[in-house]
């Protein structure tokens, strides 16, 4: 296992419109990105579990040009609704900072 914070150079969250939240993870190198993408160690089920959402509320994309993983999910409450806590959605990335991804030594050399 390797901590995601050691594999990524950017881990962020932000609104994608007032009703959705989007997470971007940009990897440090194309090698790391390709390996994560190949193994699909980041996936919709994992993000749904971290954010306590039904899996159907999460969509994921691997974006090759930026060596990035993106997950877009339904916001718990729309931006600005009573009880909502993050208008811009810019501080919803914390659960990802605890995450470790499977990284067995049998594969390509570690970064």
């Amino acid at each position: 296992m390797k901590p995601l914070t050691g594999l990524a150079s950017v881990i962020r969250s932000k609104n994608a419109g007032p009703f959705e939240l989007t997470i971007d993870i940009i990897f440090k190198s194309r090698d790391i990105y390709e390996r994560v993408k190949r193994e699909e160690s980041l996936n919709a089920a994992l993000i749904a579990r971290l954010y306590r959402l039904p899996a159907e509320d999460v969509t994921v994309t691997y974006f090759d040009p930026a060596c990035a993983f993106k997950a877009t999910m339904k916001r718990r409450l729309p931006s600005g609704h009573p009880g909502e806590k993050d208008i811009y959605g810019a501080q919803q990335h914390a659960p990802l900072l605890d995450l470790s991804l499977p990284w067995s030594d049998a594969h390509a050399a570690a970064p």
Binding site: E20, D24, Y51, A66, K70, S79, G80, P82, A94
Partner: protein, 452 residues
């Protein structure tokens, strides 16, 4: 001779500012267009709902004085989109007034096109009944109440009305709510550049130097458009455009980085390639645009749900912090009981900073710190009720008796007197839907003014 165009984006949002040196350097490339996007739904529903700008007037005036002077003196078209932030009637009027004020003070004369983006409620209701309105993403289906109760409704225009304004001889175009890239793409489209490249370039330029390294929302970016590719370069020599910085920006604030829907079509980046052509310049090619039929535009609206009053307090007593959930539960019950005659007319919220104040029920580590910051918030249909509910909840929490309590003088530390703050109107997004339109031009009528 191949066509080329140079575009200057001074700042990510009109009023966010830019260094004069960057703007001067940007102008030294003899741009064919200066454009700026002023809008966003990001600051939340208040600004659209209340008709106010999220950027201060003085900041917008400062930016406009540079932009108008350069545009008029050098005869460069200037396009401004999503006036006043939300781009509805009051926002447009506010920005128009600043333009006239700058023109008077700087003695500038030009032809101004003003394009409102407001949607009549009766029209939207008719279209809703005709099945021409659908939610945009995970948004509830539109209801008649949400339309009728919206303070303002604005549709996001595409480049077409801007192109017509340019054809109508406008030197400066001030548009209401506008698809962010449209102010950049309008002139290139009119000159026959491919839509995919024009819109993708606009998509990056609308955030100005945010796509640079180091990134900044208050510095200028240049776009160099050709028929088969475009280039990006920050105006400030202290910044660079890199493949990583531009590709990373392509992800920003979007649900799907490969397929970007907009008015009348889809920007498709599946075959886009990014290339570092020099130390500070990135080349981009392969971006495509697919028109969709029928033509759809996004409509945004916000409505007033009541008035908000808040208080801010700290708690340091470990026994109190340990019992917080039960205490809050007790305060809620006491408040509901005290205002039982107003049940359903108010909402009470507790934000617990130091525990789960940022993520709420999605917080993975809801363990409180040694002290907890508490924001109590009441939203009620009338301001007086919000004040009464908040005051009652605050004093109840301050003196709440819980098992094991030692500090019987008071549970909360207030940093301020008065302790309660009237925030004012509380709004929610009421409309965020796609509207199918036969003729998009009809929604966005243009008026021309000779400013002098």
């Amino acid at each position: 001779m191949k066509k080329k165009m140079t575009l200057l984006s001074p700042t990510a949002i009109l009023g966010y500012g830019f260094p004069e040196s960057s703007f001067t350097r940007g102008l030294s490339f003899d741009p064919h267009l200066i454009a700026v996007d002023a809008g966003s739904t990001d600051p939340g529903p208040y600004y659209l709902g209340s008709g106010k700008s999220f950027v201060p007037r003085g900041a917008v005036k400062r930016d406009l004085s540079f932009l108008l002077r350069a545009a008029v003196e050098r005869r460069i078209p200037l396009l401004i989109g999503s006036a006043g932030g939300s781009g509805a009637k009051p926002h447009l009027a506010w920005c128009r007034e600043i333009i006239w004020e700058v023109a008077r003070e700087e003695k500038l004369s030009f032809r101004l096109a003003v394009i409102p983006a407001d949607i009549r409620k009766s029209f939207l209701l008719e279209e809703m009944a005709a099945g021409k309105v659908e939610p945009l993403g995970p948004v509830p289906a539109l209801t008649e109440d949400n339309v009728v109760e919206s303070t303002y409704l604005a549709a996001q225009m595409g480049p077409e009305p801007l192109i017509r304004a340019l054809e109508g001889g406008a030197d400066v175009v001030l548009a209401g709510r506008c698809y962010d890239p449209a102010v950049f793409a309008a002139l290139p489209l009119r000159r026959g550049f491919p839509a995919g490249l024009s819109l993708h370039l606009g998509k990056i330029l609308e955030c100005a130097a945010i796509a640079a390294l180091p990134g900044s929302g208050s510095d200028c970016m240049l776009g160099f458009l050709e028929e088969e590719r475009f280039y990006l370069e920050p105006a400030s020599p202290e910044r660079r455009a890199t493949v990583d910085s531009v590709a990373a920006h392509t992800l920003y604030e979007k649900g799907d980085p490969y397929r970007l829907p907009g008015p009348g079509g889809l920007l498709d980046l599946q075959e886009t390639s990014f290339e570092q052509v020099s130390e500070r310049r990135v080349g981009i090619s392969g971006s495509r645009f697919f028109p969709t039929s029928p033509y759809t535009v996004k409509v945004e609206g916000a409505r007033l749900i009541g008035y908000r009053v808040i208080t801010v307090a700290g708690a340091r007593d470990p026994r109190f912090i340990e019992s917080l959930d039960e205490i809050i539960d007790g305060v809620r019950k006491r408040t509901a009981d005290n205002f039982s005659g107003d049940a359903g007319r108010f909402e009470l919220t507790f934000h617990l900073y130091g525990r789960d104040g940022v993520m709420g029920p999605q917080e993975p580590h809801p363990r409180p710190a040694h002290e907890v910051g508490i924001v109590i918030e009441a939203v009620a249909e009338e301001a007086a009720l919000a004040e009464a509910v908040l005051g009652f909840a605050r004093s109840t929490m301050l003196h709440y008796g819980f098992p094991g309590r030692l500090a019987t003088a008071g549970n909360l530390a207030f940093p301020y007197s008065p302790s309660d703050f009237k925030v004012g109107g509380a709004y929610v997004f009421s409309v965020y839907h796609l509207l199918t339109v036969e003729n998009p031009a009809e929604l966005f009528p243009i008026t021309y003014e000779e400013v002098r």
